[in-house]
Symmetry: C2
């Protein structure tokens, strides 16, 4: 390892592989299932409210989403939804869990390049088994020195990870699609953040704030720009 | 740390606090809900079969259990179950997640005693957020040097944990209520196992095998016997 080397953390969903696009397709089918009862906007708004109310208890992931979708469907139909339609929701959840992992463009090349010269970590939140399965399916596992699956990505969880691995925050760069979960907490700890937007952002991850950390926050158009950025920082 | 010191791993559910007893009460209410349709044995057998079929996809934990319980109820009633009854199952799952943590007798004393002289780890499988929440509620967190929540407790996952923390298997003792998940994989790696049975064992954790590892496998009647065992081993 070079003395100028960095530790680079990568988010997973919507940074390395498509995820929100799978949810978006499921939302379309969910709206269609409830179209006899409510317009799409009401369905979306009510499902999101249920998810947010259940987040503390369920955490992130497909199983909690499925339970919230069933609960919302029962409420929005005043109990008139049929058991076979609820079974369709369970089947939708299962499809999501079994979905192939589609890597985003450039990810394999960039990970191979970055991991040659720097320590590379995967830091993701969500369901333990589902994230492990996606990582295995992705074929990317070998690039990562450590994999950290956490229940929430906030200052506390990043601080734990950095301490546990003896990483100086000033030499840590986090790469991800969520300003809220990947960038702001790392900047607050004195680290660097590279934001690579995905074309869809889940409402719960949207923030108004534009990070104000000159020289530590970097807005990228594509993950392919990461190599040049790391050369500049290192 | 003494040169003779051990690293002691503790399982969580049904080793430190009651868990299977909560599931057992939920099973009773589940049987009552379906009593119009099927006898208790059929309900139990079918639910267990659904859980086992879904285990690879869902992993362990309350959310997967709830989804399997809904799926089983729809199947066993040929779709005649009402939405409000499905909502009762969702509520049951939520009650389980919000359930208070009841420590088993002696656990606080024994952890305080063991952690004074030995490195102590928590190694548990299941849902990330649910296990973290239970650990926080338990008040036991301060005793553990590391907490490892894994999606499966097998030889591979124990080997990873021991390697990551630089632990010599010959100096590692795992304490837990499941022969299958807490004892056999650790014995296979050359470590020691102390089995502290709980009065209920989930069918998926039952094994016929009695571990054959003289001097490394120890059958305890209660966790209160652990201090004396550790003195003997160390």
């Amino acid at each position: 390892m070079q003395p100028r080397s960095l530790v680079v953390g990568f988010d997973a969903d919507d940074t390395l592989w498509h995820n929100e696009s799978i949810f978006e397709k499921v939302h379309e089918r969910y709206r269609a299932l409830l179209a006899h009862y409510h317009d799409a906007a009401t369905v979306d708004r009510t499902l999101f409210a249920t998810e947010m109310r259940n987040l503390e208890l369920y955490g992130y992931g497909v199983k909690g989403f499925t339970l919230s979708a069933i609960e919302t469907a029962i409420a929005l139909t005043a109990g008139r939804i049929r058991a076979e339609e609820i079974q369709q929701l369970i089947d939708l959840g299962r499809e999501m869990l079994a979905h192939p992992v589609d890597l985003l463009e450039g990810v394999s090349d960039v990970l191979a390049e970055v991991s040659r010269e720097h320590r590379v970590l995967l830091i993701t939140k969500g369901d333990l088994r589902d994230q492990e399965r996606k990582l295995t399916k992705s074929g990317l596992l070998a690039h990562f020195q450590h994999v950290e699956i956490v229940s929430e990505k906030d200052e506390g969880s990043y601080a734990n990870i950095l301490r546990r691995h003896g990483i100086d925050p000033a030499r840590f760069l986090m790469v991800g699609n969520s300003i809220k979960s990947d960038i702001l907490p790392v900047l607050a700890l004195g680290g660097c953040g590279a934001h690579v937007p995905y074309h869809l952002t889940w409402a719960a991850e949207r923030v108004e704030a534009v990070p104000d950390a000159p020289g530590r926050f970097f807005q990228l158009g594509s993950i392919r720009e990461l190599g040049a950025l790391i050369e500049k920082i290192a």
